[in-house]
Structure formats: C-alpha cells, structure tokens
Subunit: 313 residues, 2 copies
C-alpha cells in the first residue's frame, strides 16, 4: 500500500504543476500593472489544497488530466479571489508571511483584483464542454462564501454561538472543499452516490481544517500567529476557542486584554473543546473514507487528511 | 410608425417589470442583514438601461419572454455588482442621490455585497438551457471591466490620453451595453451578422453614453453633480473635458483649484471637444441602426438612443 501512496502522491504533484501553469496562463493581464499584482498573488499562493483534493477525488473515476487541471484551476482562482477580498475586510497586512495585496497595492486595487481573478475562474470554462450545472454550483459556493462572511461580519463584537460559528465555517471554508471533491468525482464519471460521498468528505475535512486553523492561531511559539489573534479580537472576530471561552455570556470585549482572554480560554478549556469538535469532523471524514471503494488513491486521501487534520492532536 | 413606438415601448416596460421581480426573487438572501443591503441596492437601482436594450435587441428575432427576462436579470445584477464595487474605489458617498452601500454599511460590506450580487448574476443560468458561451462572454466582460478600472486607477493623477480614456470607457461601460444587445439578438435566433451589428450599436451607444455622463458632470445647475467633479479631481480621476483641457501637458493637479480647472476647460474647449467625440459615436450608432431590418422595434431603438444620447446637443 505504501508504494501506492508514493506513486499516487507523485501523480498528484505532477498534476498540481500543470494547475500552476494553467493558472499562470489564464491570468495574463492586458496591462503591466495588473500583471504585477497577479504575479504577487501567484507567488503568495500556497499548497493548493483544493486542487489536490479535487485531483485525488477524480482518481476514484476515470481521470482525464486536461479536464481536471482546468477544473482545479477554476477552483483555485476562485479561492484566490476570496482571499484577496477577505484581506480587505480583515484589514490583513500579512498573508502567508508576505504583505497582502491590499497592504501592498491598496484596498481599491484589491477589490478589482479579486473580481478579476473571479472572472478568470469563470473563463476557464470557455469553449469547453462543461455542464452549466458546474457554473451554477460555483455560483452557489460564491454565494455561500459571501453570506458566511457577511454573517460573520454582522456578528463582530458579539459572542457567536458554536452553531452560528459552524454555519459560517461551513460556508466560508467547507463549501469549496466539498465542491472540489464532488466535481472531481462527478466529472470523472463516478456515480452520483460516490461523488456525494466524496463531497461530504470534503465538507468534513473543510470544517475540521478551519477549526484547526483557529486552534493554531493560539499556539504560542509563533509571533505572527499571535498577531493574527490580536488582530481578530481587535476587529471583533472571535475564533472557536474564544467562542467556547465566552459561550452564553454577554461580554464587553473592548474592556478585555489579550491576557484576560487567554486566561478565560484556559479556564473554560476553549482549546480542548475546539480540539474535540475538530476531531468529531475528522473522525466522520475518516469513517467515510474507509467505506470508499478500494482504489490506489484511497490510501493517499487518508494520508492527506491525516497530515492536514492531525496537526493538533 | 409612432403607434409602433408606443406599442413597442409598452412591451419593453412590461418586460422590465418582470426583470425587476426576477432580480428581487433571485436576491433573496439567507440572512436578514444581507437582505437589508440588497433591498437598499434594489431601491437605488435606476433605469435598467441594459435590460431595456437587451429586450429591444431581442425583438429583432423571435422574442421569448422567460429566456430574455433571465438574461436581462443576469446582466443587471452584474451591473449592480460593479456599481457597488466602484463606489468603494471612488469613495463615493452618494449613488443616485442616496447614500451608497459603502457609505451606509461600510467598505467591508460593500466588498461582499458586490461579490454576492455577482454570484446571483451567475445563478440566473442555473438549470437553464443556456450555452456555456454566454458565461464565457459574461466572464470576459467582467474581466474587461476590471482591467479598465485598474487601468483608470493606475492613471490617477496623470493626464490620460484620449486614446487611453476610450480604452477605459470601452471596457467599463461599452462592453456591457454591447454584450446586452448581442446576447438579446443571438439568443432570439438572429443571425450572427445581425447580432454583431446590434452588439456594435450597443458598444457605440455605451461609449457615447459615458462621454455624455462625463459632460453632464460639468453642468452648473446641479449641486450634486458639482460635488462629483470635485470628488473625481480630488481622487485623481479626470473625465473627458479635463483630459482635453490638459492634453499633452504635465500638470501638478494638486496645485490647481476647481476654478483653475474650469477656466482651462473653457479655454481649451474641453466640453465642446467632448461633445464632438460623443456625437461621433452617436452618429455611428444611428447609421448602423438605419441599416437594420425594418421591425417595429427599430423605431423604438432609434428613439431610445436619441433620448439617451441627445441630452447635450
């Protein structure tokens, strides 16, 4: 089995290189200045998790490289667009240890650059034989991302319920992971049942991933990460450990210091409770993975999910 | 002929009501707060020029109400999305004599609301029998709008050439007018030649429309309009009369008062030259309209273009 994982993993890496090239080709802007911004974002672009999961999922059916590279590029361009717009709202100065688009080029630029990337995401489908359903699904995910971000925004400076937190996370993170895996499967000729199952795995992985990200914000050995927490609290955005710490209480957050918040999280076991919730979703995903048909990529999928989700246990 | 115009015009008005209802139905947000913003934008929403031109254009073929109302809604939602994002970049406080989304709800809200409207624009195609080509064309227009806005942004505080001005206007205004008329025609079974011709009419109308808007900003009998000019100049955006006034000169705009600029425009006949350029495009459009097949809606099209474009002659 371990040979299979290595082989499958190399196969995915090869495809990811194609996705990167495809994105670069698709985002050739007409004007030099625009290209500078796009190049900056491409450089900031990280692990391409969504394309990876799409490609792995597609290998449960009949894998067609050209088609999947196109789809994965569309998904990643959409993801990049949301990152650029998120940074505007979060007032983020740093993205993956680099200055964010908005801090480097200004909020105005970031608005249009995000829109531009979104249009590029759609243009991937140009003159290709894709079902309109895909566009409709992409549109639905954009809608969900926006609704979730707006919900989160309206809940600033309020303690959110865990239920509302999950609604936000399911829209802003899990929906796109889910779509990536669903599309990879259905467009590779998997049955609707199998595609739905892979879509659900993507959803559960997405939720767990976001919770773990929230937890990692509280790890003490990183100055950058500490800054993120402070920034979030300052802007009235509370991550899961904070939500658990203040569950059911009306708190004037403005009057609390970072130390007050940390102490409350420790006292109410905010990190521990967050870990338990993440594990719940991770376990669900693993159980579902176990029931998948035995193809070589199944082991890789389990492996990827483990690497991604078992960072904090 | 005048009976025909009245009849055709009533027909368009009826369809526009359907478009308004369709947009309202499509933009039902899941969260109350989001709906408040959407409702505000819907209320601000004006004459629905693009849907009108689409519907008129579609009447050169076999008009199918359901299909055209859908397309027109998608176009208008896209237009609304760009307006919301434009206001962020322009720092606009006022849109159609009402507070803009960003001044009422904040820039952050405006980012997501724009994205949300964009996703709604795409979702119009859900489960409908539309060619992917349409989505690709919509994506291309979004791309052109973004590129033009970025080009304009990068040229802030510089005197733009008239040539670059036309590049900006062709992307940010004319492209969507052109697409509206092209889509209306081609989706109603018009020949490619006829659809292209109607698309070109839309393009020329769009350019003339934008130039006339620039000219009207300088009309002295409106306090609001005066504020727009001041705001544009302050932000480094120069409309066509200003561009003509300072053509070929390197100017430190920061040191010029509004009066300096007005005097220079008068001296170099900036308004007059802008009128001539607008008329050039208006004439092109009228010549092309004259060559169209004789259908009842041809007279209405001429009529609409006249009302829209002969405001300043």
């Amino acid at each position: 089995m371990s040979y299979n994982i290595k082989e499958a993993s190399d196969g995915v890496a090869l495809e990811i290189e194609k996705v990167k090239k495809r994105i670069q080709n698709h985002s050739q802007a007409k004007f030099k200045e625009v290209q500078t911004i796009i190049d900056t974002i491409l450089k900031l672009n990280g692990k391409m998790l969504r394309p990876q999961f799409l490609i792995v999922s597609a290998n449960f059916g009949t894998y067609e490289s050209e088609r999947m590279v196109n789809l994965a590029s569309a998904i990643e361009l959409l993801h990049m667009a949301t990152l650029v717009h998120d940074d505007i709202v979060d007032d983020a100065e740093i993205r993956r240890n680099q200055p964010s688009v908005q801090s480097k080029f200004g909020k105005d630029m970031a608005v249009y650059t995000g829109d531009y990337l979104l249009s590029k995401s759609l243009s991937v489908f140009k003159a290709k034989d894709y079902d309109n359903e895909i566009i409709a699904k992409l549109a639905k995910v954009i809608e969900r991302i926006c609704e979730s971000e707006l919900l989160q925004y309206f809940n600033r400076y309020h303690t959110m319920t865990v239920r509302n937190y999950l609604r936000v996370v399911s829209g802003k993170t899990a929906a796109l992971f889910s779509l990536s895996m669903y599309l990879g499967a259905i467009e590779s000729g998997c049955s609707e049942t199998l595609a739905n199952s892979l879509g659900k795995i993507g959803y559960e992985i997405g939720i767990a991933f976001q919770i773990i990200d929230d937890i990692l914000d509280f790890s003490k050995d990183s100055a950058t990460v500490g800054k993120t927490v402070q920034n979030d609290v300052k802007n009235g955005y509370y991550t899961l450990p904070v939500i658990y710490a203040f569950e059911g209480q009306q708190i004037a957050f403005g009057q609390l210091t970072q130390t007050d918040i940390s102490m409350k999280i420790a006292e109410r076991e905010g990190i521990e409770k967050s870990r338990i919730l993440a594990k719940k979703y991770t376990d669900k995903a693993f159980q579902r993975i176990d029931k998948l048909p035995d193809v070589p990529y199944k082991a890789l999928l389990r492996n990827m999910a483990e690497k991604m989700l078992v960072r904090v246990y």
